[in-house]
Symmetry: C2
Subunit: 284 residues, 2 copies
């Protein structure tokens, strides 16, 4: 595995590989890799002749009160894991390389960016879409693999790739969970033992919602109430939002007729955790 830190070097590598007829798969990450990332990486490995993974803790997607400085980092460990997983190129640029002095350009996906997490993290998705347009210009992948845990992010990126004609296939990889159900996240590292236990309320509440729908419940309001009461049982967990929404437009739906996505964000200690599940309103 080769580590590339310079944008120009990465672009030259990609142009060469593309022109040699190689299909480039790409997994963008913020590092501090867990098994969820590694599953994306293994999936990417199968989807391309060449596999590029990036590690970049992107400052523009963190709000001023958020955890940019504290975000966990362990480059040496990540490097080894990616090497073992068959990565060809680890792209690892400095912040000053990505956002030099005088930087001014931002990419925004309207509407989709303002629901759900967007309402609580103003500017967050603008930072995500901006850095991804940059990374896509630099890596020039044919296919990119993103985790479906960040469901809203996945939808926004699909919209952006289509709108800007980036000619990239976007693959959403199913959320990877610990054995007890907790969705894998680098931010789980913030949790102490008690908080770790309280964090199980997220997946438990999603299971509860799924059962209700299986039993015939179609009213979003009832499902939201059930989730809320499940989270409220945990004194260490504080619900930020829970919503049932259209899987494409992310707009809130009152009834689950076709498919709907149930998404929630919960604060546990200093971690802000998100999770989601697909609710299937149509039987059979």
């Amino acid at each position: 595995m080769r580590v590339i830190a310079r944008i120009k070097e990465m672009q030259e590598w990609s142009e060469r590989e593309r022109c040699a007829g190689k299909r480039i798969a790409f997994v963008p990450t913020m590092g501090f890799l867990h098994d969820g990332h590694l599953e994306l990486v293994r999936d990417g490995r199968k989807r391309g002749d060449r596999l590029v993974v990036s590690i970049f803790v992107n400052p523009t997607q963190f709000g001023p009160q958020e955890d940019f400085a504290a975000y966990p980092r362990d480059f040496e460990r990540d490097r080894k894991l990616l090497d073992q997983a068959g990565t060809d190129i680890l792209f690892y640029p400095a912040s000053s390389e990505m956002y030099p002095d005088g930087y001014r350009t931002y990419v925004e996906v309207e509407k989709l960016s303002h629901f759900l997490c967007g309402a609580f993290r103003p500017g967050h998705f603008r930072g995500v879409t901006t850095v991804l347009v940059k990374l896509f210009s630099i890596v020039r992948p044919h296919v990119v693999v993103l985790g479906a845990k960040d469901y809203q992010q996945l939808r926004i990126v699909c919209r952006m790739v289509e709108d800007l004609n980036l000619a990239i296939e976007v693959v959403g990889y199913p959320t990877v969970r610990e054995e007890d159900g907790l969705a894998m996240s680098s931010r789980n590292a913030y949790l102490n033992q008690e908080e770790r236990r309280a964090a199980l309320s997220l997946s438990r509440s999603l299971k509860k919602a799924e059962s209700l729908v299986l039993e015939g419940e179609r009213e979003s309001r009832r499902i939201v109430e059930a989730v809320r009461s499940e989270i409220d049982k945990e004194p260490l967990a504080r619900l930020e939002y829970v919503q049932v929404c259209n899987p494409e437009s992310l707009e809130e739906v009152e009834r689950i007729d076709g498919n709907a996505v149930l998404a929630l964000a919960v604060r546990v200690g200093r971690a802000r955790l998100i999770d989601n599940t697909l609710l299937k309103g149509r039987r059979g």
Copy 2:
């Protein structure tokens, strides 16, 4: 010359040419071509092995009160002119191809987009940068040639290309003028004979400013006053703005120490005309 209307076909052509080692030059236009455009096209012809010209009257860069519907169009004439000028590909997409239903993504260059014309045409440069990111993703040029008459646009595009790592050389081509000094513009077609004469006040006022600087004037305020009085002599001309600014940041400067750009916008009849010139504060 081949005319391509579909995005996917254009992208496939470009990828093939790039991988065959061909350098692609690109001149984006809104059509209704004049000699100014054709000089850009001839310049582009020299800069690439392949030359792509686009014609697309981009709806997102027009305000609701602006001249999108009235903007002059003559595809058959344009097609002939581009063919004669040695264009390889004329990219001519439909609006519905560029902005399908559900379109949501916009690219913005902060600060630079809010000075000068940006203050009078809210959203204009956002539309320009958005369509250009799309066109650059579709045409994948190595070099793009833009007219320097739209000086602010040129600066914004340079910034954006650098910020988004688009790996494109941006060439600003000097403003092409009629013999009497009027900067060429598709919007000159809106002018009747009297207005055409009044429109000469733009280039005349720039000449006046250049002379003042040659004679030693360094105060922006005095230069602005001279321009204003030149425009005010024409009852048919209405000054929208005139400003002396830093050529890079576009910020207003009080004194001309190094180089500065004098930019103005003037309404004559239903035409909104712009022009600019470089003022050299340093002698020799």
